[in-house]
């Protein structure tokens, strides 16, 4: 059993806009690229050119079909990574203390040196956000790019998670969700950002912004014909149209 901090000074996390995520997978490979050479062991791949390639990813995007009532069917693209929960079950279940939640910013991390690869945390996570690295035998998860966001070797503007930096549609936002005045908190308030699976009692820090209502064509009045063209012929129409110049 590992303890969670009672309260963290900040609650850094992501706000992911499902209204603008086009499912392009850019965040997936930017994450893979950074973290393959970043915090901890590389993100290995098994049989990368073989019949059934597999590998470790800290962030994956899934596409779901949704059939709203009385509207056209939709596709919702859903990026999935660690939600850095306030009540993180992956931490409390860890037998060695390898999984922990940082006091200063709430980031949930795995201390790979202490990780025995038992996999309990992955079982405990209701979001499937942790992946055991098959080569190293240690648990990998989103670090919120802890090695970027404070990194003084990076220009200040780059001190954000790789997935946020790369997202072409700007669907991913990073900030302090404990600060009600932060841009991310305000975005959550304005757009009805929600917790993923709140019934699990994990109190995720990351929030998702729901897709806006779609397929409601403008109900403005339809265009009215200038006149009865069948009756007036083209000449009548021309007179009326060109009278407008």
């Amino acid at each position: 059993m590992t303890c969670l901090p009672g309260k963290t000074e900040r609650a850094l996390g992501l706000v992911i806009d499902l209204d603008t995520c086009v499912g392009c997978q850019a965040c997936v490979t930017a994450c893979k690229g950074w973290n393959d050479q970043g915090y901890g062991v590389p993100l290995s791949d098994q049989n990368p050119y073989g019949s059934t390639p597999s590998g470790t990813f800290l962030n994956r995007v899934h596409s779901y079909q949704v059939q709203p009532e009385a509207a056209a069917p939709m596709i919702v693209n859903f990026p999935r990574s660690c939600l850095h929960c306030t009540d993180a079950p992956c931490v409390t279940v860890c037998p060695t203390g390898a999984s922990y939640k940082r006091v200063e910013d709430g980031i949930v991390l795995v201390n790979e040196e202490a990780c025995i690869g038992c996999g309990l945390c992955a079982w405990a996570c209701p979001y499937g956000a942790r992946e055991m690295d098959a080569a190293a035998g240690v648990m990998k998860k989103c670090t919120l790019c802890v090695d970027r966001i404070y990194n003084e070797n990076l220009p200040e503007e780059d001190r954000e998670p790789a997935c946020v930096r790369t997202c072409p549609t700007g669907a991913r936002h990073f900030g302090d969700l404990a600060d009600p005045g932060s841009a991310v908190s305000q975005l959550v308030a304005a757009r009805g950002g929600y917790d993923l699976m709140p019934e699990q009692g994990t109190r995720p820090v990351n929030k998702y912004l729901p897709p806006r209502k779609k397929d409601r064509p403008d109900q403005a009045s339809l265009l009215a014909p200038l006149l009865d063209i069948q009756a007036t012929g083209l000449a009548g129409w021309l007179d009326r149209v060109l009278g407008k110049i």
């Binding site: 086009v22 392009c24 490979t29 690229g33 019949s51 063209i229 007179d239």
Partner: protein
């Protein structure tokens, strides 16, 4: 709590080198991080005009492309039968000498016997220049099977096109409508733009049979029936005209709507009425008299009738006000309700006219008339392959541009804007050059814009001069050639046989050909004496693609991080509406294999062949390599491949070659931008400040203002020929088709593929390219293939239920051409009569250094097997290509099929299943 101490400021990399991505046609700026001399991380360049720091899934996986085991390692010579994959490594000297030995006699006797076609080439102004120097008429890149309809429809109508050559005014547009756009060209700018628009609360409407990607986030989705977009658009035009909701001022001032159409029977009928100086003119509303179209103060009268001749505007109104275009008349055909069409028309009108915007920026037009402000119509459109890869795609593109024009929504604030070097009138483009003279260069560029029948690329006997029959009566406006017809035509000897087929980055033995199985047979076809029907094939690629096995000589190219390139204003630059932009690639790492950049190899071949422009006065090679060419070559005096840092380093667009130019580009992050002045930012085709700026930076040598072509006179000239007028006459069997397809006003006709419907082929079948893969390149990428390693056929609910499909099922899909058996998946957000799959995921066993059991080679499949490069025979002995009759664009999306439930193959392999190619590189192991 004992938190481990973390170093939150670890060393990032030893060095960052800025170059240009090449994972697709988007050409984003990238920061390549190097650690211990190796690429360790790739991210977007924040300063770059295209991607502004972001990067797509492909770009961020570039590291896996540079280390891919499928990279070719050395020149190869075929030693087994063609197609077997049996090669021996040879030296570069031997390889180049072999190529020279094959090519030299052709140049000296019959240059057309060399056919040089390039695929995903990003150096077409260079490869075209080389082919011109060689003297063969047979050169083009892959636009003919990509999206030439969009390019040609745009140039002939607007003097600019979609692709990446224009962009919505992302900052100001309030309504953005996408037609048939998958997620490829200009992909990051479009994603950035959609994100911006949604952040502002602007509306996005997707018109597409398939609701993925951009269409998935669209506020409204119109799941149109494939091939009917043109009809929908003309119905929208009907609604707008009926209500008088068109921008009359714009039409009158900036388009040829006020030109008079000759109504006298005879050879001039349907052409513009011209004055004594052979200029079209307008009737001035102030005087009621003829006046020059470009006269200061002229107020062109849209309603004029002069000596019995009516204006373009009246002809247009007469056509589209016809009840044939009423929403109620087209709804069933389009698969869109009449109400929905009327709602869309109302929304377009409301945004364009009731929500017009105004920028307080005075400007002066080409007539010298002053405008106090810039009035904007904040409606923007984008369209791409979805509407253009049909046999009615050119006219559909024209229809969409007409819709934009009627709304005043081109080059106005909030609408769709062109990127330099566009706008550029059709008349400023070359005409095709095609006369082959032994030992001589071609007299000008191969590709161009035909104005009338006399510019067709025909031999004196009237037969096509080009192997692909580009610029022939079968497809007069084939501005990008017809690469998809080269191999079939060469094997059929129609119009003639060739000797050497020289291909670059074009996977013609697989996903880039229609009718793939038969094309493989064509590539290996033999004559009675055992010789190959296409005697020699030279191929250059960086990777062990399927095409490699079908070549006789392989010239291995570098990967994108190991090479010089220029993304040039002479070609397809990285401009934005507010700035001309070009860029370079440079070797941020050196190749670790015996490979050479293809462009440098071409220059070497050119020097060995003694091609003009490639040999110095002392007889030695004029250019050391491609980098040397990029810096020192001048296309016109003072104008070269790169616009920045010319002369002493200050020259922009114009100036003598600067030996430091490449270094300056590298220092500047790999790109250069020349900013459009603010008063020149909109109304560019007519804006005097823009025209002057364009001359200043070398885009033109004189101002080139022009009017948009609602009525296309070049098209009418072909109709006239088909009606029997003029000296250059089409063959009789093409007259009816030319009359239909070359209509000078946008028209909709059934896609040719619809002819299959009465035979039970009632289902439309499409492909899309995913955002995370580009053509066939993605599958060798260790990361990307984990994201999308196989491609099911997506089936809409109606068909799913009708055929009793359930999860895990397979289907047999049959067209008039072939049959495939493939796994199916249900998808509700799909037009009810359309099935589709991801493009080019399927692989041939043995290619790309993948294991033979790879999902791409096992379940993965191509729709290409169902698509013939020819239309069904008509019994007249002619071969009609399955292409747009105007441009020759491959009509991939005309495909009609029949679908039925099938037993899953016992071996789990989709059908057809081809034997493995002997790998030319070892299978990839660990990474």
């Amino acid at each position: 709590m004992n938190q481990p101490r973390l170093n939150t400021s670890p060393h990032v990399s030893d060095e960052v080198r800025k170059t240009t991505c090449y994972m697709c046609a988007c050409r984003c700026g990238i920061n390549v991080h190097l650690t211990s001399g190796r690429v360790s991380y790739i991210e977007g360049n924040r300063d770059h005009p295209i991607n502004k720091g972001v990067l797509c899934a492909k770009g961020a996986s570039g590291i896996m492309q540079v280390t891919a085991p499928s990279r070719l390692r050395t020149p190869l010579r075929r030693v087994g039968p063609r197609g077997s994959g049996a090669f021996e490594p040879i030296s570069w000297d031997e390889a180049l000498q072999t190529a020279v030995d094959w090519m030299r006699p052709l140049r000296e006797t019959a240059p057309e016997k060399l056919a040089f076609f390039t695929g995903r080439d990003q150096s077409q102004s260079f490869t075209g220049w080389w082919a011109q120097a060689f003297g063969t008429p047979n050169y083009a890149a892959h636009g003919g099977f990509c999206s030439v309809n969009m390019a040609a429809a745009g140039i002939y109508t607007l003097g600019g096109a979609f692709w990446e050559f224009g962009a919505p005014d992302w900052e100001r547009s309030k309504l953005f409508v996408l037609f048939g756009v998958a997620e490829d060209h200009d992909s990051n700018p479009i994603k950035i733009g959609i994100g911006k628009m949604k952040e502002r609360g602007a509306r996005v409407i997707g018109v597409n049979p398939i609701r993925t990607g951009y269409n998935a986030v669209a506020d409204d989705w119109i799941g149109i029936t494939p091939g009917t977009d043109g009809l929908l658009i003309l119905s929208l035009i009907h609604c707008l005209l009926e209500a008088g909701k068109v921008d009359l001022e714009y039409l009158s001032r900036f388009t040829n709507a006020a030109y008079l159409i000759n109504e006298a029977e005879g050879p001039e009928k349907g052409l513009f009425v011209r004055n004594a100086e052979a200029q079209p003119f307008v009737i001035d509303r102030r005087s009621g008299m003829p006046a020059p179209w470009e006269a200061k103060g002229v107020q062109p009268d849209l309603g004029a009738v002069w000596q019995g001749h009516r204006t373009v505007f009246q002809h247009m109104a007469e056509r589209y006000l016809s009840p044939d275009y009423a929403p109620e008349a087209v709804a069933a055909r389009c698969g869109v309700t009449a109400l929905r069409i009327r709602q869309l028309a109302a929304e377009l009108a409301s945004v364009a006219f009731d929500q017009a915007i105004e920028i307080k920026q005075p400007w002066v037009d080409f007539r010298g008339d002053e405008h106090a402000t810039m009035i904007g119509r904040p409606v923007s459109f984008h369209a791409m392959r979805g509407i253009s890869a049909h046999s009615n795609g050119f006219q559909t593109g024209r229809a969409l541009h007409l819709l934009q024009i009627l709304l005043g929504a081109v080059e106005t604030p909030g609408s769709w804007r062109m990127k330099p070097p566009y706008p550029k009138p059709m008349e400023a483009h070359p005409t095709p050059h095609f006369v082959a003279v032994p030992g001589k260069p071609l007299s000008g560029p191969h590709l161009g814009y035909v104005r009338g029948p006399e510019q067709l690329a025909l031999l004196p006997d009237g037969s096509p001069a080009r192997i692909d029959k580009a610029f022939s009566w079968e497809n007069p406006f084939s501005a990008h050639g017809l690469m998809h017809m080269v191999i079939p035509n060469a094997v059929a000897g129609d119009p003639y046989r060739i000797d050497t087929l020289f291909l670059y980055m074009a996977n013609m033995a697989w996903n880039s050909s229609m009718n793939t199985a038969q094309v493989m047979e064509m590539l290996t076809a033999q004559e009675a004496d055992g010789s190959y029907t296409i005697p020699r094939i030279i191929y250059s690629d960086a990777y062990a693609s399927e095409m490699v096995a079908y070549a006789d000589l392989i010239l291995p190219d570098t990967t994108y991080l190991e090479r010089h390139d220029c993304i040039s204003m002479l070609d397809r630059p990285v401009s934005e509406p507010d700035a001309a932009g070009d860029a370079i690639r440079w070797p941020v790492v050196e190749p670790d294999r015996d490979v050479r950049g293809f462009q440098s190899v071409l220059l070497d071949l050119g020097a060995r062949l003694g091609l003009p422009g490639m040999v110095a006065e002392d007889g030695r090679a004029k250019f050391k390599d491609y980098a040397d060419y990029i810096v020192t070559h001048q296309r016109r005096p003072g104008v070269g491949p790169l616009m920045g840092f010319r002369g002493n380093g200050d020259g922009e667009g114009r100036g003598a070659p600067n030996p430091d130019q490449m270094a300056r580009y590298i220092e500047n992050g790999g790109f250069y931008q020349a900013h459009v002045p603010e008063e020149a930012a909109f109304f560019k085709p007519w804006n005097r400040a823009y025209q002057d700026w364009a001359v200043q930076v070398g885009l033109f040598d004189t101002p080139q203002p022009y009017l948009f072509n609602i009525w296309s006179e070049p098209m009418r000239r072909f109709q006239l020929a088909a009606e029997g007028h003029g000296a250059v006459q089409p063959p009789d069997h093409l007259r009816a088709r030319l009359k239909l397809a070359m209509d000078p006003l946008p028209v909709w006709y059934e896609p040719f593929g619809d002819a299959a419907e009465p035979f039970g082929f009632t289902v439309h079948a499409l492909t899309q390219r995913p955002m995370d893969m580009y053509h066939s390149w993605g599958s060798q990428n260790a990361w990307l293939r984990q994201i999308r390693g196989h491609n099911p056929l997506f089936v809409p609910t109606k068909l799913w239920q009708q055929h009793g499909f359930s999860e895990g099922d397979w289907a047999r899909v049959t067209s008039a051409t072939g049959q495939i058996t493939v796994p199916v998946v249900h998808m509700a957000a799909l037009n009810e009569n359309t099935v589709w799959t991801w493009n080019a995921i399927g692989k041939r066993k043995g290619a790309w250094a993948l294991n033979e059991g790879a999902t791409e080679a096992k379940q993965g499949f191509l729709l290409n097997h169902l698509i013939s490069e020819l239309l069904p025979a008509k019994g007249d002995g002619m071969r009609y290509s399955n292409s747009d009759p105007v441009t020759g664009q491959a009509a991939w999306f005309d495909l009609r099929v029949r679908i039925e439930r099938a037993d899953p193959p016992a071996d789990g392999h989709s059908r057809p299943a081809f034997g493995a190619i002997r790998p030319v590189v070892p299978e990839g192991g660990k990474r």
